[in-house]
Subunit: 518 residues, 2 copies
Amino acid sequence: MKPNQLNEASGVFLTDQYQLTMAQLYFRMGLHETMAQFDHFFRSYPDYGIHNAGFCVNAGLDSLLDWLDTVKFGQEEVDYLRSQKSATGGQLFGDDFLSWLRDDFSSKAINLYAIPEGRVIHPNVPIHVIEGPLAVGQIIETGLLNTVNYQILIATKAARMKQSGRDQLLMEFGLRRAQGLGAVQGTRAALIGGADFSSNVGASRIYGFPPKGTHAHSMVQVFMGLGEGELAAFQAYADIYPDDCLLLVDTIDTLESGVPNAIKVFEKLKNEGHQPVGIRLDSGDLAHLSIKAAKMLNDAGFPDVSIVLSNDLDELVIWQIITQIQEEAGRYGVEPDHLIKRLAYGVGTSLITSRGDAALDGVYKLVAICPDDAWIPTLKISENIDKTLNPGNKRVWRVYDNRGNATADLISLHDEDIEHQIPLELRHPTLASKRRLLCSDDIDHVETLLVPVIKAGKILTDRPGIPDIRKVRDQDIECLDPGVRRLMNPHIYHVSLTRKLWDLKQSMVRKTLADKEN
Amino acid sequence: MKPNQLNEASGVFLTDQYQLTMAQLYFRMGLHETMAQFDHFFRSYPDYGIHNAGFCVNAGLDSLLDWLDTVKFGQEEVDYLRSQKSATGGQLFGDDFLSWLRDDFSSKAINLYAIPEGRVIHPNVPIHVIEGPLAVGQIIETGLLNTVNYQILIATKAARMKQSGRDQLLMEFGLRRAQGLGAVQGTRAALIGGADFSSNVGASRIYGFPPKGTHAHSMVQVFMGLGEGELAAFQAYADIYPDDCLLLVDTIDTLESGVPNAIKVFEKLKNEGHQPVGIRLDSGDLAHLSIKAAKMLNDAGFPDVSIVLSNDLDELVIWQIITQIQEEAGRYGVEPDHLIKRLAYGVGTSLITSRGDAALDGVYKLVAICPDDAWIPTLKISENIDKTLNPGNKRVWRVYDNRGNATADLISLHDEDIEHQIPLELRHPTLASKRRLLCSDDIDHVETLLVPVIKAGKILTDRPGIPDIRKVRDQDIECLDPGVRRLMNPHIYHVSLTRKLWDLKQSMVRKTLADKEN
């Protein structure tokens, strides 16, 4: 794939064929400019097998806005579509439809409402709501899902790792094992969700972070191959990077060779007035080795240099390492908390691919259509009742309890003003018997989550940078119940419907089933 | 991310920072143009949890060649690197090194040997061998791994699905759940490994396949929202696409509504002289529903229209569906084999993300260096003996037994000619006690797997298209023992070392450990 091909595949053709065949059908029926509303939401938190998320971190909106800018049909795109054939050899797409695509299709025709990046999000809550001409809303579906589903997935994984590492420095190292060029978007999401830096040079450059990295085993191997040893390699590195000297100590033997050689080099650096940065451990029992290495570094007068851990880390491995350090460090004369606070983590495959659950089940569903002047809610029922849509134009609210904690997300119809409906009735999305009543004493405040982002072709909001998005993330995570934040078996956060939405949904389900009988 | 940023992040900066800091060190030491050899290989087959692969399908080389063409440092790249700062605020990369990058660095300075795309490959066997200036070989590591690891992973997954679906039509539908733009490369790999077509318009266009797709639930919902029903939606679709009419029948109720409505439309099409294509089932018990739908279609005089299955399929789900059809179809008066042969599969998330194992553990390791005129093998030992490198310049051979089946891959030193070393001694890579002797009666023939691809800046080989790569795949899979092809608990294929390579590796391990003691 050459660079120009990459651009061709990442613009308006970042879509599924059926979006185009459906769009042509709408065009033929005169429905292509009928206003429609689509909700983007996910159905369930990532489930990593033996652990699962209790919340997600939102990410991807800014990339979506960039992508929408590229969504247009030029002559080249139209020519390609004209070349597509039906089964009997005729033109699959008619010239009238193609002219409309080229001359009249515009991604600027949509209104977009979105939950801002960095916010905590939950299943079934609309994160992006698109209101626009039916054919436009349909054609952008796939690209929207491709752009945001993955970023939410990775921001969530990064938040978990940051949490299990107790907010110590977290570096994203996954480019080599990533799913191709998705790495660029994945790195952005990692930086939003919890990674402080990345080794990925291109992505770091785009998003304005200095890329991080020092050296690999291969550098030590080169010196060994030339008949010199690890010490010579370390010394060469220190000579060139005296103020950025972080040494990988496990090429030969961590405790017998790597750490002693690093200490020799650090002593020389110190004598020359430089501050050594640290060591990196990349194999073996990282908890045990970090304790032994810390002891050696402490004894040599380097109690503050970092110990970076890497090698297939994920949130549970990090958690386990910290637990083991707490139990074991004291026996070696190392203060556990001091050691934990000098650790940093380099995380690769597990972060950039969201190991254990490599896809968010985000969907994009038609919920309303406006053939004349009035919106009509639409439904899709399902054999699985949990998958039956919440129909209609809606609003999303977050309810905070009197401790200031987020206690529930509430989905209402668009004409409901929750702030004036207290006491609030919270209905379970599918079970009639499950409901909760919150009176004003229970509620600190209520806020709306969806923000208007695009209206009449204009972007209405600021486009915050990653540092600001991280502040939003920290605030929102802070407002979660500790049980919801738990890495394993988290407490279930309530996502509820108002009575009015519940009633609409039930009546539509009944009507659809009755129509079917007839 | 805007299109120009995507290009910036997918060229030479598709790399990790430490490749650049190491390259500068080599430059300062005068080692940057020292010839070095790096092997790319993976350590273990994808393990999907309750099942695992017994072989992989190679993919990615052509994309790698495209990427290598973009790997250069222009003034803009050099300016960015010049802006990077050390911890104390000085320039991290010196002007002399940056001038070398801009003026003298060339990815054309490497020689590349590779196993062709489509071939069956196994762990620890070098797939790509890079021979070139140390700094160049180092800087291209990350991009090479990013480009080929994911494609091998997805080609392998696609081959498994194609196999479990008994070679029926397989369509890739995963763009919406893919890990961002990796989808483009993933689609290529899916098309190599086993998918016949893809819904991804951009990727299909690049790789020369017609994209596939008809309509979604949303189209039926639109008609329902407008007060019309599923039948009207189907009829509208058939009117516009009379020769490409494949209808999604599960928006309301598959057997009560979808299939009867599809049959009505098909009858009209047939009367008008068109051949209906089929139906798609996307929810519920796909095996049971496909039997019942087949019966209805048969009874209505449509025994040949396709039944496309989708909804979170993977190789085991497909296998299970076929098994259930074999057991259950007869009871409903449906001939199981006839039904199985009219099925097609649309596979999404599980294929494009390789669900269960979302990353191939492919690595790129320094194995030899040539400081003067002679190559010196290099080693990295590991706490885990399986991860100790096979050192030196090597060749790779595939040994076929007298049934014509591939029986082992054999790694030798570069100066060994296996064809003249029969009887062959095959040594286990790590266990001294495990060896196998093959005499000439056991061996049909031996072939080399690595092909010279780039030499002196020139691409030596053809760049086969995907149809030709598929032929290679089919031939190679055909030569595997059925036990190796098994989807669950496959038989272990032997990857062995020659005695000479085994001896070299052992002597180097002994020497490294001895040096450490001193």
